[in-house]
């Protein structure tokens, strides 16, 4: 298959179109704007819908409307915009609708900055809106993986009738890498629940998240959590790199994991037994994989472009039985392999 050199944001857009995304609703924000611009060029010509919404809030609600009718719908934004979308994401989750949301993360809080960041981990995995719910969260670390994960995110969103987020960042969005677009399997599944006109052939469908009776709401949420349990048992995924004999294991996701892989290579060249675990799903979190892969490790170093968010989940994964240290840069600063190597040495008391 043909290799193409593409920017992360544009490759993501192309991959979404190829896997059957029919509607894209967006709003301009750096560093995800190329994604919308690419959709504006390609979407209408490929028989789909591109619409620039008046706000992030309107965009996610347009996704809600389109997804309600059973088509694959997507929106993308960067950190401050995702905060605005969180109301709609909660309603989408509460209405059991599938959709894909892209967050090309930038520094925060507030207007923050426009450089790469991973400071929305907590928001994505634990607080994407009010109420009891989860969103599938996938974390690519290369442009190729961005392409592969978009299609997977749509499939899983449809399968489990819930929103899925691709947690990208400004680095992955802006850099160019060669990518291959896989042959598309059309996985159009039946959506008998869709509100797309009953044609006088069935009772009306209602897309709704309101349950005025407390016990009705409780029952609905409890049922939804059974689905989450099934997901937690089957979907967690992580890449392990040189962990078999590793004494010091780094946990890192997304663009940071690429830096950490270089640091592991530097460490190995100096005879230090380092390894890397890279979560590919952030919710469900690959706790078992981390627990098993770190069984013989002396210590764990969690590296993030934040002041330390995923590190809490790593500590829980190893049941706080291992020494878990943290190293991070934040505000849009990308850690270097040399910095990470220094932290590995510090962890091992190595001169």
């Amino acid at each position: 298959m043909e290799k193409k050199l593409m920017k992360g944001n544009e490759a993501l857009a192309e991959a979404a179109i190829r896997c059957g995304c029919k509607c894209f609703f967006g709003y301009p924000i750096t560093p995800q704007t190329e994604l919308s611009e690419y959709m504006a060029k390609r979407m209408n010509a490929s028989g789909g819908v591109f619409l620039q919404a008046e706000s992030e809030i309107a965009a996610i609600n347009m996704v809600l409307g389109a997804a309600s009718t059973g088509v694959r719908a997507m929106t993308s934004s960067s950190s401050p915009g995702i905060s605005l979308k969180s109301e709609g994401i909660s309603y989408i989750a509460g209405s059991d609708l599938p959709c894909v949301i892209i967050n090309v993360q930038r520094g925060g809080p507030g207007l923050g900055g426009i450089q790469p960041s991973q400071a929305d981990y907590w928001q994505a995995t634990k607080g994407l809106g009010h109420g009891d719910f989860h969103v599938l969260v996938f974390a690519p670390s290369s442009v190729q993986e961005v392409v592969d994960m978009v299609s997977y995110a749509f499939d899983m969103a449809d399968k489990y009738r819930m929103p899925a987020m691709l947690l990208s960042d400004g680095l992955l969005g802006q850099m160019m890498e060669p990518v291959v677009f896989p042959e598309q399997k059309s996985e159009a599944i039946e959506k008998p629940w869709a509100a797309n006109g009953h044609k006088n052939e069935r009772k009306h469908n209602i897309i709704n998240s309101l349950y005025i009776e407390a016990t009705d709401l409780e029952n609905t949420v409890v049922e939804r959590y059974k689905k989450y349990d099934e997901i937690k048992a089957t979907l967690p995924d992580a890449e392990t790199y040189m962990t078999d004999d590793a004494e010091y294991i780094i946990t890192a996701y997304g663009a940071t994991a690429r830096v950490c892989k270089s640091a592991v290579n530097l460490a190995r060249a100096e005879g230090i037994k380092a390894g890397l675990i890279r979560p590919k799903t952030l919710w469900p979190f690959p706790s078992e994989i981390i627990k098993n892969a770190t069984e013989n490790a002396k210590a764990i170093l969690c590296v993030e472009m934040s002041t330390g968010q995923m590190v809490d989940d790593v500590k829980l994964a190893v049941e706080c039985k291992k020494n878990v240290e943290f190293f991070g840069r934040t505000g849009g600063v990308i850690p270097t392999p040399a910095e990470v190597l220094a932290q590995i040495k510090k962890l091992g008391g190595i001169e």
């Binding site: 029919k22 509607c23 609703f25 819908v49 619409l51 919404a53 008046e54 706000s55 809030i57 309107a58 965009a59 609600n61 347009m62 996704v63 809600l64 409307g65 389109a66 997804a67 309600s68 009718t69 088509v71 719908a73 109301e87 709609g88 309603y91 209405s95 509100a195 797309n196 006109g197 009953h198 044609k199 006088n200 052939e201 009306h204 469908n205 209602i206 897309i207 709704n208 998240s209 309101l210």
Partner: protein, 248 residues
């Protein structure tokens, strides 16, 4: 025996939750009569708001979506763009449409989004128990304007049809009332026209319906109708504010 009056087929045969004397029931009925007459129930998707008509998804027999507060025009946009051959309408109150949802309303209108908006204006937040709405009249008492709405403090009411009529994408903006039989007949004609506009791909159509809220106004149903006539219609004159060909 000849049937001279019956429940519209697209209006569910269940008890509505609205208060005695509230005119939501009439407006639901008018929308359903139009849907029946045009024979489009199977091709219609309705979007309901947050507010008194939040349970409207149970009352309309077409497919229904419950939108977040104020977002119905954005949700309807998503539905219509994904399914352009379906009829899509929103049913919204004044707080939903003219306060928290102003942005979504204005932009759906200016895009000429080919949808129908039924806007029920009763000058108050009913569901939450009678707070000031964007349409509450100067001097009107509500639980958050206990001494009457003072424009110096709380600003002026929004005249939605007049405001939207300035936008190029609006095919129809008409204000009607359901206080009398002639007005109710007029209201139905406007709603029918709005749905026909959508069928003919003419652009955005809004029908503002002046409605009563006896419970939160603290009036009997009869006095509530009188207030609508004496106080609301002078401030919100009935009529057609836009009826034009949208030149896309």
């Amino acid at each position: 025996m000849a049937v001279v009056f019956e429940r519209p087929k697209s209006l569910a045969d269940i008890r509505l939750h609205y208060c005695p004397g509230c005119t939501h029931g009439i407006i639901h009925r008018l929308v359903c009569e139009v849907i029946d007459e045009m024979g489009i129930e199977g091709d219609t998707v309705g979007v309901c708001p947050v507010g008194c008509s939040v349970f409207a998804y149970n009352y309309f027999n077409c497919d229904m979506i419950e939108a977040p507060h104020g977002r119905a025009p954005a949700v309807a946009t998503g539905v219509k763009r994904a399914q352009p051959d379906k009829f899509v309408f929103t049913y919204q109150g004044d707080g939903d449409l003219a306060a928290i949802g102003t942005c979504e309303t204005v932009h759906a209108a200016t895009r000429g989004e080919n949808i129908v908006v039924i806007f029920v204006n009763n000058t108050i937040y009913g569901m939450t128990g009678g707070q000031m709405a964007p349409t509450t009249l100067p001097g009107q008492v509500s639980t958050t304007t206990p001494f009457g709405r003072d424009p110096k403090l709380a600003g002026f009411p929004v005249r939605v049809c007049e405001m939207l009529s300035t936008l190029d994408g609006v095919a129809l903006a008409q204000r009607v009332a359901v206080d009398s039989v002639p007005h109710i007949r007029e209201a139905k004609k406007a709603i029918r026209k709005a749905f026909e506009n959508q069928r003919d791909k003419k652009g955005f159509s809004i029908v503002e319906v002046l409605s009563t809220c006896p419970t939160n106004w603290g009036l009997s149903p009869v006095d509530a109708i009188k207030r609508l006539q004496d106080e609301m219609i002078p401030y919100y004159p009935l009529g057609v504010y836009a009826d034009k060909e949208v030149k896309f």
